[in-house]
Symmetry: C2
Subunit: 245 residues, 2 copies
């Protein structure tokens, strides 16, 4: 039994997220499993490093599947890219160790969120960046970000329902850079809860707009109360850049 | 009579180029004239700095129109962006001198052509870059480009039918830069003939692939023979970046 690892890219705009749902829905996992099944002549179950929500993009999603199929990895890559819709692409196909699992072995992730900070649209970023007009105080957002670094209970920053699962995560880096009117927010960490990056973003943007103090982050983390954090920002600005193993 | 100048951006993918044709066709000029006519309550004729072909993009197209309408320019910008389709945007609206004309006063243009030089697709560049797999010799393309600089008769590099109009143009700069697998070709000059940048690109890419010598450019220019130049590359890689006045 071979274990095949895929490095994937997709524009999430048209999709209802990564996770396969009913067969009638248009998901990245569903599309890929259907194609891999056809390629291998057997039912294929694809394990992604994590689900991305509807509208979220990926430049470096990792997934793996087991197969009896004997096709060479180079041939697989050509086959998959030939038949995939043009908004999904496979960058690499490789043999993985028998026990490699994209989700269970992932040790960290890198996400990016783009904000277009100007009062006119940019047609080239309309699918990839959130438009935020008005002044944004980058220094204040950077000061707020420092409070979020390290290991915390991020219960205030997730839409996940209360359950037994731990909401403790570690954020290693939040970098905010400005290139003209484009603000790039880069998040690296051990893992991110459901909606976590987008709620962190909504909160940081409120700091940037002067509606929230940078040093209020500590109380917000301690509260464990989703209602006290910022809004959930739209999915289109979010991209999964890399999965660390 | 006011003379209003627009700075425009568009993704050309969905359009049959700049120039208004029959009313049934989807053109940038047609879309804009319709909207401006509705805004001003009068028939509007929009003068672009030049036509862009079907599929060509623009980050800095300039156009102007005369109107009796009294709306403030800021209000116009908001109105136009509210009603334009999301792949066209107006970046600036300003009052121009009475005799300003976008095409007649244009003294130069800056175009960019993107090439994705790798053997796997990139979903984020599928509308903006031409995929060229295999090795491309950037140094050879740069050497070839030097022969094209300055004032020449570019008859070999246009699809325009023979006529009385001059095919002499001046190219001031051709810059080729590599960012990972993305090659950015930047052309600045006094003006470009129909299809000129795309035929120059087809010719340079043949040099890059080793199918043509850099120093063959001189003979090619002198020949005045379109058949001896390279292929017309697809429109999707081309963007009008700026118009100089």
């Amino acid at each position: 039994m071979r274990n095949i690892r895929l490095l994937l890219q997709y524009e999430g705009t048209r999709y209802q997220g990564w996770q396969r749902q009913q067969s009638t829905e248009n998901t990245i996992q569903g599309r890929l499993e259907q194609l891999l099944g056809r390629m291998c002549g057997e039912r294929v179950e694809l394990h992604g490093s994590g689900r991305t929500d509807a509208g979220v993009h990926a430049r470096g999603q990792v997934a793996n599947f087991h197969t009896e199929c004997t096709m060479a990895t180079e041939e697989m890559r050509a086959y998959i890219n030939r038949y995939l819709p043009e908004d999904i692409a496979v960058l690499e196909v490789s043999e993985a160790a028998p026990r490699f699992h994209s989700r269970l072995n992932a040790r960290g992730k890198h996400y990016e969120y783009l904000v277009l900070n100007r009062d006119v649209p940019d047609v080239f970023y309309r699918r990839y960046a959130l438009e935020v007009p008005g002044r944004l105080d980058v220094e204040a957002m950077r000061r707020a970000a420092v409070y979020l670094l390290g290991e915390h209970d991020f219960k205030s920053f997730t839409s996940a329902k209360k359950g037994k699962k731990s909401t403790v995560r570690r954020i290693d880096e939040i970098r905010i850079t400005r290139e003209g009117s484009l603000l790039r927010f880069s998040f690296k960490g051990s893992g991110f809860l459901h909606h976590m990056v987008r709620i962190l973003m909504g909160t940081l943007l409120e700091v940037g707009a002067g509606e929230r103090e940078p040093d209020s982050m500590t109380d917000l983390l301690l509260s464990g109360d989703r209602a006290q954090a910022g809004a959930l920002v739209p999915a289109k600005g979010l991209t999964l850049v890399e999965v660390f193993f």
